[in-house]
C-alpha cells in the first residue's frame, strides 16, 4: 500500500527549478520563438540586450513584490514609490552636487535606499498595525507618494543636474564584460532574493505566513513582523530599481512609474507566484518581467498590428502566456 499512500515526493524548490516550475520559462521560450519568426531582428544581440536591460526595473521591483505577495500581501504603491524615490534622490543629488561634486551620486544612492526602506516600513506598518487590507492601504500610500513628490517639485518634474549626468550614465548604460549593468544588478538582486526566500528562516516564514496565517501564528511566528519586513524588502527593491532608473530617463516626472504596479503584479503572477500567498518564485518573477518586456518589444517590431490594437494583442498574449504556464503544471 505504500505506493499509493505516500504522496509523490516533490523536489523542494530552491536553486534547482523543478519541472512544475518551468511554466514561465516555457512561455518565455515560446515567445522568443514567435518573435523570431515574426522578425528575425528580434534575436539580434542588440535588441535582446536592450529588452532585457529594460526589464530590469520591473524585474527588481517584482522580486520585492514576490516577497510581499508570497506573504499574503499586495503593494499597489510601487510605481508612485519609485517616482517618489527618484524625485527625492534627484533633489538630493542636485542639492549636494555643488558642494561635493560627483560624490553626490553615491550619497544620493544611499538616500534612495533609506527612502525606500522608510516607504516600505510605512506600508508595512499601515497594513499590519492598522490591520487594513493591503490593497487599500497601498492604494492610499500610492496617492500619498505621488502627491508628495508633485508637491516637493511644484508639479512633479525634476531633472538631474547636468554636471552629474555623464558621471551617472554608466549605471544604466555601462556594462561589465559586455553585460549591461542593470542586468547584473537584477541578477544580483534575484540571487540574494532567492537565497533569502528559499534558504533562510525569514524566507520560510514569509511563505508560511502567506500559506496559512493561523498556522504561522500558532507556530509562534510574529505574523506582523514577517509581513512588515516583506514590505520593507519591497521598498529596498524599489529603491534599487530607482537608482538604476535615474540615469536612463534623467528625471522624475508626474507620470514616472504610473501603472508599474500592474506590470509588477503581472510579472509576479506569470512567474508562478500565487496571488493568494504561500508560494513565491523569484526566478519565475524575473522570467515574467522579461516576458512582459518582450511582448511590448514585439509590438514595436512587428508591423501588422494596428497601433490601436496593440493593447488587445498584448492582453491576448498575456493570457496565452498564462495558459502555457498553467498547462505545464499538469
Amino acid at each position: 500500500m505504500a505506493d499509493l499512500a505516500a504522496a509523490p515526493p516533490r523536489a523542494s524548490h530552491g536553486w534547482s527549478i523543478g519541472w512544475g516550475d518551468a511554466g514561465p520559462f516555457l512561455a518565455l521560450a515560446a515567445l522568443v520563438l514567435i518573435g523570431f519568426l515574426i522578425n528575425p531582428d528580434f534575436l539580434s544581440a542588440n535588441n535582446i540586450a536592450n529588452v532585457v536591460t529594460r526589464s530590469a526595473f520591473i524585474a527588481i521591483i517584482a522580486i520585492g513584490a514576490t516577497f510581499v505577495i508570497a506573504s499574503g500581501g499586495l503593494d499597489l504603491s510601487v510605481g508612485s514609490m519609485a517616482a517618489f524615490i527618484t524625485g527625492v534622490t534627484i533633489l538630493f543629488m542636485n542639492w549636494a552636487a555643488p558642494s561635493v561634486g560627483t560624490a553626490a551620486i553615491p550619497l544620493g544612492m544611499a538616500v534612495a535606499l533609506v527612502t525606500g526602506l522608510a516607504c516600505g516600513l510605512l506600508n508595512g506598518t499601515i497594513v499590519t498595525l492598522g490591520r487594513i487590507e493591503p490593497f487599500i492601504a497601498t492604494l492610499g500610500t500610492m496617492g500619498i507618494f505621488r502627491a508628495l513628490i508633485t508637491y516637493m517639485t511644484d508639479g512633479g518634474t525634476v531633472a538631474i543636474d547636468r554636471s552629474l549626468r555623464e558621471a551617472y550614465r554608466p549605471v544604466y548604460f555601462g556594462d561589465v564584460l559586455g553585460v549591461p549593468i542593470p542586468i547584473l544588478v537584477s541578477l544580483a538582486v534575484a540571487l540574494i532574493a532567492a537565497y533569502v526566500l528559499y534558504r533562510t528562516r525569514y524566507g520560510r516564514r514569509c511563505v508560511a505566513v502567506g500559506a496559512n496565517e493561523d498556522v504561522a501564528r500558532y507556530s509562534g511566528i510574529s505574523v506582523a513582523r514577517v509581513r512588515t519586513l516583506a514590505f520593507v524588502i519591497q521598498g529596498a527593491c524599489v529603491a534599487i530599481a530607482a537608482i538604476c532608473y535615474v540615469p536612463r530617463l534623467g528625471a522624475a516626472t508626474p507620470t514616472t512609474g504610473v501603472l508599474w504596479e500592474l506590470q509588477v503584479i503581472t510579472a509576479v503572477v506569470i512567474g508562478g507566484t500565487a496571488l493568494r500567498g504561500g508560494r513565491g518564485r523569484v526566478w519565475g518573477t524575473v522570467a515574467g518581467a522579461v516576458i512582459l518586456e518582450f511582448i511590448a518589444n514585439l509590438m514595436v517590431l512587428s508591423d501588422f498590428v494596428s497601433e490601436y490594437l496593440v493593447a488587445a494583442v498584448q492582453g491576448v498574449i498575456i493570457i496565452i502566456a498564462m495558459l502555457i504556464q498553467r498547462m505545464s503544471k499538469r
Binding site: 530617463l249 516626472t253 507620470t255 497601433e307
Partner: protein, 293 residues
C-alpha cells in the same frame, strides 16, 4: 536609391487631443507611403514615457532610422534617449512638447502655448472690463500646461480679474465635469471659466447647463476641437472665441520631414503655429468637419 525610413513616435490615444494626433499621424503615414515610394513612414504609439523610450530604442536597434518624428510624452525623460538616436545620425523632428535641449532637434513644430493662455486672458480682460471672478481648470502637470497657465496669468496681471480657484482636471472631460460642479457649489458668483483644453471645456459646459446658473458670462477652452469651433461659428454667447492648437501639427511635421528627403531641400528650423483668437469671422478657416478632433 535606398528607401528612407521615418519613424514616428507619439503617445497612445489617452485623451481627445492625442487621439487626434494618432489619427493624423496614421493618415500622414498612409498618404506619404503611397505618394513617395522612396520613403517609408512607420508610426508607433506608447502609453507612457518609459514605454516611449523603449519604443525608440527598439526601432533604432533593429533598423536604420533616417528620421525620427517625436511627440514626447514628457520633455525630461525623452531628452537623453532622443539624443542617443540623434547621435546615430538620424534627422530629429520634435512636435508639440519640446525637449530640454533644443540643440537636439533639427526641426520643431509646435503650437504656441503661452499665446493660448495669453490671448484667452486678453479677450476676457477686454470683454469683462478688467474685473470679475474666474475659475480655471488645468490639465496634466506638464510643461505645456504650465506654459498655458503662465500665459494666462500674465494676460490678467494687473487687472481686477481674480482667479478664485485652479485645479487639475487632467485634460479629461469627466473630471472637468465633476470639478466644475464642485466649483459651482463652492462659489456663488463665477463670472467666467477657462479650461485650458477643449476636452475639459465639454465637461464644464455640461455642468453649467445642468446647474442652470446664469451669471457665467464666458466659458472658454483652447485647442480648436471641432465641436467648439461649431459653437464659435454659431455665435454662441458663452463660448464666442477659441484658440487653435491642432493635433494635425503632427501631420505637418511628418510632411515637412518627408520633404527634407523627397524634396532634396533641407528643412531645418522651428515652426510655431500661431494661436490667434478664433472668432465667428475667421472660424471657417479652422473648421474641419471630417477630423476626429
Amino acid at each position: 536609391a535606398e528607401k528612407k525610413t521615418i519613424a514616428v513616435s507619439i503617445p497612445a490615444a489617452d485623451h481627445g487631443w492625442t487621439a487626434g494626433v494618432v489619427y493624423h499621424a496614421n493618415a500622414a503615414a498612409k498618404e506619404i507611403n503611397k505618394a513617395f515610394p522612396g520613403i517609408e513612414v512607420i508610426v508607433k504609439t506608447s502609453p507612457s514615457a518609459s514605454a516611449q523610450v523603449s519604443a525608440i530604442e527598439d526601432l533604432s536597434a533593429t533598423r536604420k532610422l533616417d528620421a525620427l518624428v517625436i511627440l514626447p510624452h514628457t520633455s525630461e525623460e525623452l531628452t537623453t534617449p532622443v539624443k542617443a538616436i540623434k547621435d546615430k545620425g538620424s534627422f530629429i523632428t520634435v512636435v508639440d512638447r519640446g525637449l530640454n535641449d533644443p540643440k537636439i532637434q533639427d526641426l520643431y513644430v509646435a503650437g504656441d502655448n503661452i499665446a493660448v493662455g495669453y490671448n484667452t486672458a486678453k479677450f476676457l480682460v477686454e470683454k469683462m472690463g478688467g474685473k470679475g471672478n474666474l475659475v480655471v481648470l488645468r490639465g496634466i502637470p506638464t510643461v505645456i500646461d504650465d506654459e498655458r497657465i503662465k500665459g494666462f496669468q500674465d494676460g490678467i496681471a494687473g487687472t481686477q480679474l481674480k482667479i478664485l480657484d485652479i485645479q487639475y482636471a487632467n485634460w479629461n472631460s469627466d473630471e472637468a465635469f465633476k470639478l466644475m460642479q464642485d466649483y459651482l457649489a463652492k462659489y456663488p458668483q463665477i463670472d467666467a471659466v477657462w479650461a485650458n483644453d477643449d476636452d475639459m471645456l465639454l465637461g464644464v459646459l455640461e455642468a453649467i447647463k445642468q446647474s442652470g446658473r446664469k451669471e457665467i458670462k464666458f466659458a472658454l477652452g483652447g485647442n480648436g476641437m471641432k465641436e467648439i469651433i461649431e459653437k464659435v461659428k454659431a455665435g454662441d454667447a458663452v463660448t464666442p472665441v477659441e484658440t487653435p492648437y491642432p493635433p494635425s501639427m503632427i501631420k505637418t511635421a511628418i510632411y515637412l520631414t518627408a520633404a527634407h528627403f523627397a524634396g532634396h531641400a533641407p528643412v531645418r528650423g522651428s515652426l510655431k503655429l500661431d494661436a490667434p483668437l478664433i472668432t465667428k469671422e475667421n472660424a471657417d478657416e479652422y473648421y474641419f468637419p471630417d477630423s476626429p478632433f
